[in-house]
């Protein structure tokens, strides 16, 4: 007997079939076991709630007094019963201003990430679906955007259209769509080569419907993971940009601008700088941890960037 004859694989004959288990239940169990992800989820939940509250007081003129009301008599006070986190140099309440600042961060972070997601999804699927020259052109754009420092783009855009929150929104959109587009493109490309798409084509089912149906669950995990990182990234960029006075202009309560103003009064009261600074740190920490946890669950291979 020689080994060139068909060799029976005892393993293949005897191995037991893997037990099918619910994916969602696995995901929940993993999330429960992952304390960092739980902390991230908790912080992010607070961010969302505070952000919604902040958005309401920012967008409701009748509530503007909460974060705009000045009273120099009570300037730079430490936390007290009336002002739970103290007051700034104009005597404005730091808690309400902080909530307003989180509102800005929330609106910009979530809004821009959503916008970026739409652009990335559209361009990524177009590139993956049509292939050839369209793909090459879009991939070229992706590479172009991918390597650029967001802040540099933001600064140049500020030079083009003047200071303000618009700069951050445009800059983030110009750069971050590429991250989503890359994932979606790769996913669509793989799917488009599969037999069932071929079969659907022959049966006359619109291909895009098949792609959408199969792509959405496949891409969902990666998109969620990246979305949490990107909201964090957007929040930190907006804050940094406002900090160097190119972003939100006064009296808009941007967290970055608040830190920048607050640091000048550090010797009198640390609260005007500490409150917004800590708020940003907690938001970013929460979103990053949530992203890490989601990544462990959905896509262990996906790394940050």
């Amino acid at each position: 007997m020689s080994a060139t004859e068909p060799v029976v694989d005892v393993v293949a004959v005897l191995d037991r079939a893997p037990a099918a288990e619910g994916r969602l239940r696995d995901a929940l169990a993993l999330l429960r076991a992952n304390k960092v992800a739980l902390l991230g989820l908790f912080l992010t939940a607070i961010f969302v709630l505070t952000g919604l509250a902040g958005a309401v007081i920012l967008l409701t003129p009748g509530l503007h007094h909460l974060w705009e009301a000045q009273d120099l008599a009570i300037a730079l006070q430490p936390p007290s019963g009336d002002h739970l986190l103290g007051t700034d140099q104009y005597g404005r309440d730091l808690l309400w201003r902080g909530i307003g600042g989180v509102g800005i961060a929330f609106l910009i972070g979530v809004g821009v990430t959503f916008l970026v997601l739409l652009i990335g999804l559209t361009l990524g699927s177009i590139a993956g679906y049509f292939g050839r020259k369209t793909d090459m052109a879009i991939t070229g754009l992706i590479d172009l955007a991918w390597g650029f420092p967001l802040l540099l783009v933001a600064v140049v855009i500020a030079g083009m259209i003047g200071k303000g929150l618009k700069d951050v929104i445009i800059a983030v959109s110009v750069i971050l769509w590429a991250g989503f587009a890359r994932i979606v493109r790769a996913q669509v490309k793989t799917l488009a080569e599969r037999e069932f798409v071929e079969a659907a084509r022959m049966l006359g089912v619109p291909e895009w419907r098949i792609l959408l149906r199969h792509m959405v669950p496949n891409v969902m995990g990666s998109v969620l993971v990246m979305a949490s990182y990107y909201v964090a990234y957007t929040v930190i960029t907006e804050a940094g940009f406002s900090f160097i006075n190119l972003g939100a202009q006064p009296p808009t309560p941007s967290l970055g601008a608040m830190v920048a103003e607050g640091r000048n009064y550090w010797s009198v009261s640390v609260w005007p700088a500490i409150v917004p600074g800590t708020a940003i740190a907690l938001i970013v920490l929460g979103l990053n941890s949530l992203g890490d946890g989601l990544r462990d669950i959905f896509d262990p291979r996906l790394r940050r960037w």
């Binding site: 007997m1 080994a3 060139t4 060799v7 191995d15």
Partner: protein, 342 residues
Amino acid sequence: MGVDVTSESRRPPVGTGDALLEVTGLTTTIRRRRGSFAAVDDVSFTVGRGEILGMVGESGCGKTMTVLSLMGLLPAAATVTAGRASLEGREILGLPEREMRTVRGRDLAMVFQEPMTSLDPSFSIGYQMSEVVRAHGAGSRKQARQRAIEMLGRVGIPRAEQRIDDYPHQFSGGMRQRVMIATALLLEPKVLIADEPTTALDVTIQAQILDLLASLRDDLGMSVILITHNLSVVNEIADRVAVMYAGQIVELATVRELFDDPRHPYTQGLLRSMPDLTVPGERLPVILGRVPDLGSLPPGCRFAPRCPNRIGPCDERAPALERDAAGRSLRCYNPTPFRADG
């Protein structure tokens, strides 16, 4: 423990046949979140000088765990909890890591299943081979390189002096496995452990690698433990075979004895599922049921739930591994003569 003589081997071993490696009562426990279990349970065998011992069983039966225990390379969750293993009279279980390191690579060498991933992709094979010689203080840089070239030639790599500076990805799977074997043999180990060395390779390459192992055994006089789930591989080159099931050895015999007269119902089942014993066109018979979870074993014989020969005591007490006068070992209350058609 007495002397195992492999009288019926087609290629008589080079050595004298006395036990070079003697393993007694080896038990390796894996800790899990819910309790621990013995992945290797009371395993005893000997390997004679110049002998090729085949170890056969399904995945998860403990073959690999057994040899990893001997090498001191168990994963973090596993520990040897009982047993002895002496290599030329020297106890090697429980050696401190520093001493174990001098045993590994020099006395005991190992070749793994996956030649595609078992070499470091970032270093030339010359570097990875010389490194063994250097780490064991067995020669200068130049000598190590010379030795590596020699060994590569010996395992059948053409133009060894040029290819030594190539990187792993520049070799085919079969060639990589040759490199792995050459690396393992650099310091002429006493025992070469080959863990499924041909499973990942094409069928024609498998035969070449097996031939290579046999001829190296003949030339160098080393002993080989060959782990495989493939009985035809064992039939090809082994002198004796240990059949493992659920962490235990259930039958140990010479290759001839085992193939001519398998006694354990599990061994019989394995033989029946070999294609050459089946009438063409008929379905391959399979062993019904599944391997028990080592965490929740049956109280009696581990094979009992799947065994066609089950009798009363099988479900109550676990049978022991018993040796007959001829030196065959068997763990079964009710062995019956083998019929190929089941």
